[in-house]
């Protein structure tokens, strides 16, 4: 285990630093370049400069999800072009870059590995240190950087992850999480049931349909303490949708037929209400007034609005970012990686194997970084 540096031991950074970040844990391939400026004396760090933030998404036909093999192929096809484009956008050369950061997990194995191979190669070619980044920590740090929320309760909601997180003593502690599938996965899979397009993203298309929904269909409400469960909700609403499609219409109280718009609306209202509930409970426990929403589902306007109503009642505020930073991207990996790099963190080639799951690998148990709360947040001293 890395020693926890005390406040005094945090190394002073006396020059700007630049990182290249590569993200490919799911169907988004992202490459970003970020610059950090030295911390002023006793002051906060100046805002980071985003020099490039390029993303290419693997989009599948309606009704189909993205499979690891095809997604990995997509990333292999585009990774070189994206790095080239990012360098061009930034106007930098490899000489200007301090470290090469990549998503080491959690995520889908084959896509992660494809991008890791590119990161290793680039790191050796340019003779720059490699920094493996935990995907979840990337989201959190980018959200904090962009919004300026200094110590928020974090709701991390995406296609692969659903966690309520609060910072304490150099760890992002998980207060609650999903017991089965991620919120975004539930939305994506319902989009497949409805056969609606995955372009630009299934969640966005559900959000658009939900705006036209008028009738609320009651769904299971499955908050379990600080955790949530999604699978029962999905099974139930899939059943209703299949009924409707097979000529067995359902009727609302006013006698109107339930539409797919109504179902999208009901699904969003139910799931988001559950998320607001567990987030509010975490805020009460921690005594925090701030909520930061990160992850792909975080750019859903309805979720942000519902969270804002709750936060207002608690005299607090919601912090969220737009799709450039909410949806998986390379810049968040560059940012979180550079924060770690500045504390002296490096990833050796032999330790650069990607991990899919939140499990404890036997090999690197000592410095395991798979779960959000296993990462030592050495760059925070509050």
């Amino acid at each position: 285990m890395q020693e926890m540096p005390s406040k005094q031991e945090l190394p002073a950074i006396d020059r700007p630093t630049v990182a290249l970040g590569l993200e490919g844990s799911a169907n988004k391939l992202g490459v970003g370049i970020i610059r950090h400026f030295p911390r002023r004396k006793a002051g906060p760090r100046p805002p980071a400069e985003i020099l490039a933030n390029i993303r290419h998404t693997y989009i599948t036909p309606p009704g189909e999800g993205f499979l690891p093999r095809d997604t990995a192929k997509h990333h292999r096809t585009f990774v070189v072009k994206l790095v080239k484009d990012a360098l061009k956008t930034s106007g930098l050369t490899p000489d200007d870059i301090d470290c090469v950061c990549f998503t080491q997990g959690p995520g889908m194995g084959a896509p992660l590995q494809s991008v890791a191979i590119a990161a290793r190669t680039i790191s050796m070619m340019w003779d720059k240190p490699l920094v493996g980044v935990n995907h979840c920590v990337g989201h959190i740090e980018m959200g904090r950087e962009i919004t300026g929320a200094n110590n928020p309760v974090v709701l991390y909601v995406s296609g692969g992850n659903t966690q309520v997180i609060a910072y304490s003593h150099q760890r992002y502690r998980i207060f609650g999480e999903t017991l089965d599938m991620a919120v975004g996965n539930c939305l994506d899979r319902f989009a497949r049931t409805l056969q609606i397009p995955n372009d630009p993203s299934p969640g966005y298309n559900i959000e658009l349909l939900a705006k036209k929904g008028k009738h609320y269909v009651e769904l299971p409400y499955t908050v379990k303490g600080m955790d949530v469960s999604m699978s029962g909700i999905l099974a139930y609403i899939d059943g209703v949708a299949n009924d409707i499609f097979s000529g067995n219409p359902r009727y609302a109280e006013d006698g109107e037929i339930i539409t797919k718009e109504d179902l999208c609306f009901s699904l969003q209202e139910t799931i988001f209400a559950m998320l607001v509930e567990i987030t509010e409970r975490a805020m009460a426990h921690v005594g925090s007034q701030q909520v930061l929403i990160v992850g792909g589902v975080g750019c859903n306007q309805r979720l942000q609005d519902m969270m804002a109503v709750m936060a207002r009642d608690r005299a607090g505020a919601v912090y969220a970012t737009d799709e450039r930073f909410c949806i998986d991207n390379g810049i968040m990996i560059a940012h979180a990686g550079l924060l770690a790099y500045e504390t002296g963190f490096r990833t050796n080639l032999e330790d650069s194997v990607c991990t899919q799951r939140f499990s404890l690998p036997v090999r690197h148990q000592a410095d395991c970084q798979d779960r959000t709360d296993e990462v030592l947040i050495a760059w925070r001293d509050d």
Binding site: D95, Q113, A116, I117, R120
Partner: protein, 99 residues
């Protein structure tokens, strides 16, 4: 290492010893998913048989594969070639000369 019936050896020439070593280092860390059915042995060779430029050694990546069936061999070798493709793509387009 288990000995299997199905073998394949690939030799991949690189223009410099450094590039061959980078390819070796980039691909080596990842473990095989089914080591009991498929093994992959990489090495950087400095002897080149029947090559046009025998004065420039150490530029061949040698990949030796052993598998329990032809199907496993094909899948495993394909995986290696896919990884190699990423490395070669990076070396080709991103290996800027250091100033």
């Amino acid at each position: 290492m288990t000995t299997h019936d199905h073998h394949l050896t690939l030799t991949i020439p690189f223009s410099t010893p450094r590039q061959a070593q980078i390819a070796y280092n980039a691909i080596s860390p990842d473990p095989q998913l089914k080591p009991d059915q498929f093994t992959q042995m990489l090495s950087v060779s400095d002897t080149i048989a029947s090559c046009d430029e025998p004065n420039n050694p150490g530029r061949i990546l040698v990949a030796e594969f052993e598998a329990e069936s032809e199907r496993v061999l094909r899948v495993g070798v394909n995986g290696f070639l896919e990884s190699l493709g990423v490395v070669v793509g990076c070396l080709k387009d991103l290996d800027y000369p250091s100033s």
